[in-house]
């Protein structure tokens, strides 16, 4: 997969329409977009069968750039829109691109209920630890003591572990990676696309211009290097003493299990009502 040529990316973009893009220099959103496209291309999925849905935020601007069926919806509700699409046309592959604020603050309710239903949506949450689009306010994933424009003295709230939340709610595929680990990200997306059931991939990503600047993170290359140095693969966690794991980003597929999927269950219910004989 690594040698899927750059050309593929260009082929999948609406290059004649909506470029240059809105993202700041050094933003990780483009890296995630590249990984999504390579994952889709490597699986040879017909792009007519893909719907990319997003809410509102910098990360949620992604659908405009790709040549799929695309929906840039309203803040926090992308999973609800996606649920409608998937339930009406279950053969479609529905990818949700969302931010930490979009997915876990305003959209938290939809996240947990979609996970509980185990509906076959592929949610890619680009976690930059801040509200990018509105200029750097606190998000539910802003680390304790980090700075945000609405936490000028340091954030006193504890941060959310979204993967744990999704697993607690019943998601059947949950994974985490960072914007530095591009190949890993690509493979995870590929895996999720082949999985049947609610899939959440958290991509810890760099917002150097807002989060990075407010927290003196040293620019995009430095932030990516930090992801490399401050993360450990799940497979290594057990072998390490707890103090070496503390505060680190744990990468890997945290859960992958087969569980009844909602749109399939619903189709079975329809059949049952139709063959029940008499009324």
């Amino acid at each position: 997969m690594a040698n899927i040529p750059q050309r593929i990316i260009h082929e999948y973009l609406r290059h004649d329409k909506k470029f240059p893009h809105v993202w700041c220099a050094g933003c990780s959103n483009g890296i995630v977009l590249g990984a999504i496209i390579r994952a889709v291309a490597s699986l040879n999925i017909d792009r007519n069968d893909i719907v990319m849905v997003s809410g509102i935020g910098c990360s949620s601007r992604m659908p405009v750039y790709v040549d799929f069926n695309t929906l840039h919806s309203i803040h926090g509700r992308s999973i609800a829109f996606a649920t409608g699409i998937k339930m009406h046309k279950p053969h479609l592959k529905v990818i949700v691109v969302t931010g930490d604020g979009d997915c876990a603050a305003i959209g938290g309710n939809h996240l947990i209920h979609a996970a509980r239903r185990n509906i076959d949506l592929k949610v890619i949450m680009i976690n930059n630890n801040i509200y990018g689009m509105t200029g750097g306010q606190c998000s539910p994933t802003t680390p304790h003591n980090a700075y945000a424009t609405t936490a000028p003295y340091g954030n006193i709230e504890p941060d959310f572990n979204i993967c744990n939340l999704a697993m607690g709610a019943g998601a059947s595929f949950v994974a985490r990676t960072t914007a530095f680990h591009v190949l890993e990200m690509q493979n995870m997306i590929k895996d999720a696309l082949q999985h049947t059931g609610f899939s959440l991939i958290e991509v810890v990503s760099a917002c150097p211009v807002i989060y990075g600047r407010l927290n003196k993170k040293g620019g995009a290359p430095q932030m990516l290097k930090d992801f490399r140095d401050n993360s450990i693969p799940l497979s290594a966690v057990e072998k390490l003493p707890p103090e070496k794991v503390e505060g680190k980003i744990i990468r890997g597929i945290l859960r992958k299990e087969i569980r009844a999927e909602f749109s399939t269950e619903y189709a079975a219910l329809c059949k049952k009502t139709q063959t029940a004989g008499g009324e």
Binding site: D46, R47, A80, I85, L92, L269
Partner: protein, 407 residues
């Protein structure tokens, strides 16, 4: 692959993938008169109109609509889903509609308020869908099982920004059935969110209704594009501002956004394109007012006094008119079945022909503002409100005594 081949193959994949779930509606129906509730009539109207997707969240006094559709939709390969809240419900029906469904949700005041952002999204993205709002006493939780007509303005102005509204308002169980079908048809035709306002009393009242044969139900389906995908414009202007609508999964790969957009659906900051989009939203309603506005004129020919009332209140008015006429008082009723767009012309005509207009409504005065707007040249002396917000209906006697006061 040449461009031509590309179009060809795309057409083929399109044909192969028209997998919008078919809905099996019975072709015939035995015509018999049955006793049913307004909510039941709404559910049956939705099914007859071809609604194959319902997402909702329970709220009194609308719940029977969801309950009936939960039982009926799976039998017809349609989708029923109880969402986690009203925000999710409106968004799910919009998503389903973009994927090709005829979709509907039902709620009441508090839920209707929560849906407003989504309703605006459906309007700006020109996505067909229907919201049934069975009104109850408000504000806030108010009186969940009691009638009020307090959502008249919310149904027009509830969502932020400028956007025209289509809102229908039945006065009986039978008309609840008919206007539900009409709401679905208009949403498909005009590519917008249509709202059906229902009174709690009608929702829960049982009346004898004879449903028409399915074959006689007129159904409008959205216009589908016929051009190759490369030529498709999601918001192309043609046919009197009604443009074809592709669905996700049919090979068109269009973009939809709540941002102000151009004809292709891509965001734009150009003032000229923004103005064009807003104009299209406005014109597709205002240029079609004749098609949209339905109004009933009852005993108005020789009337000196007119009552202007909608929904359940108009029925009290009719009873009052019968009593007044028996005493020789010339009074009639003008009843809007479409409250938005407001029937300006009919109301102007009424104002020209009568000396006094009485506007009874179950709120502190909402419809009356619109009548007032059209009374410009006249003094307001001839415009008389009757308002009630106590959870009780306005009685024929209350209207009758007002008639006698002014005649």
């Amino acid at each position: 692959m040449t461009e031509k081949d590309k179009i060809k193959t795309e057409k083929i994949t399109k044909a192969a993938k028209l997998e919008s779930k078919p809905v099996d509606t019975p072709k015939k129906r035995e015509r018999k008169t049955v006793l049913m509730q307004g909510n039941e009539a709404v559910a049956l109207g939705a099914l007859d109109a071809g609604v194959n997707f319902f997402a909702g969240y329970p709220i009194t006094p609308s719940t029977e609509i969801a309950e009936i559709l939960a039982a009926e939709l799976p039998k017809r390969n349609g989708t029923f889903i109880q969402m986690e809240d009203e925000l999710a419900s409106i968004c799910a029906i919009i998503g389903a509609s973009l994927a090709g469904a005829k979709s509907l949700t039902a709620t009441s005041g508090p839920g209707f308020s929560l849906m407003q952002e989504g309703i605006g999204f459906a309007k700006i993205t020109e996505t067909p869908c229907v919201v049934v709002d069975v009104q109850r006493v408000g504000p806030s939780t108010g009186m969940p099982t009691s009638p009020a007509q307090g959502d008249i303005m919310q149904s027009k102005w509830g969502s932020h920004g400028d956007s025209p509204a289509i809102v229908l308002y039945p006065d009986s169980v039978k008309e609840s059935y008919e206007l539900t079908i009409r709401a679905v048809n208009l949403s498909e035709k005009y590519r917008t969110c249509v709202i059906l306002l229902l009174d709690e009393v009608i929702a829960h009242m049982r009346e004898a209704v004879c449903l028409p044969d399915i074959a006689n139900v007129r159904i409008i389906n959205r216009i589908k594009p016929t051009v190759p995908p490369q030529w498709y414009k999601h918001y192309d202007e043609n046919q009197k501002y009604l443009s074809p609508l592709a669905s996700y999964g049919e090979g068109y790969r269009f973009h939809v956004t709540g941002l102000t957009h151009d004809a292709h659906g891509f965001p734009t900051n150009k003032p000229s394109e923004a103005a064009e989009m807003m104009e299209r939203l406005r014109k597709k309603i205002s240029y079609n007012i004749r098609d949209l506005v339905q109004i009933e004129s009852y005993r108005m020919d020789d009337a000196k006094i007119a009552i202007f009332a909608a929904g359940i209140t108009s029925r009290a008015a009719k009873a009052a008119i019968a009593s007044a006429r028996a005493e020789g008082i010339k009074v009639g009723l003008l009843r809007p079945l479409t409250i938005w767009p407001f029937p300006d012309d009919a109301v102007r005509k009424m104002l020209r022909n009568v000396e006094t207009v009485i506007v009874p409504e179950l709120n502190q005065g909402q419809l009356i503002y619109e009548v007032q707007r059209l009374t410009k040249e006249k003094s307001d002396g001839g415009l008389i409100p009757i308002n009630k917000v106590s959870s009780e209906l306005i009685t024929p006697n209350e209207i009758l005594s007002k008639i006698k006061e002014v005649c």
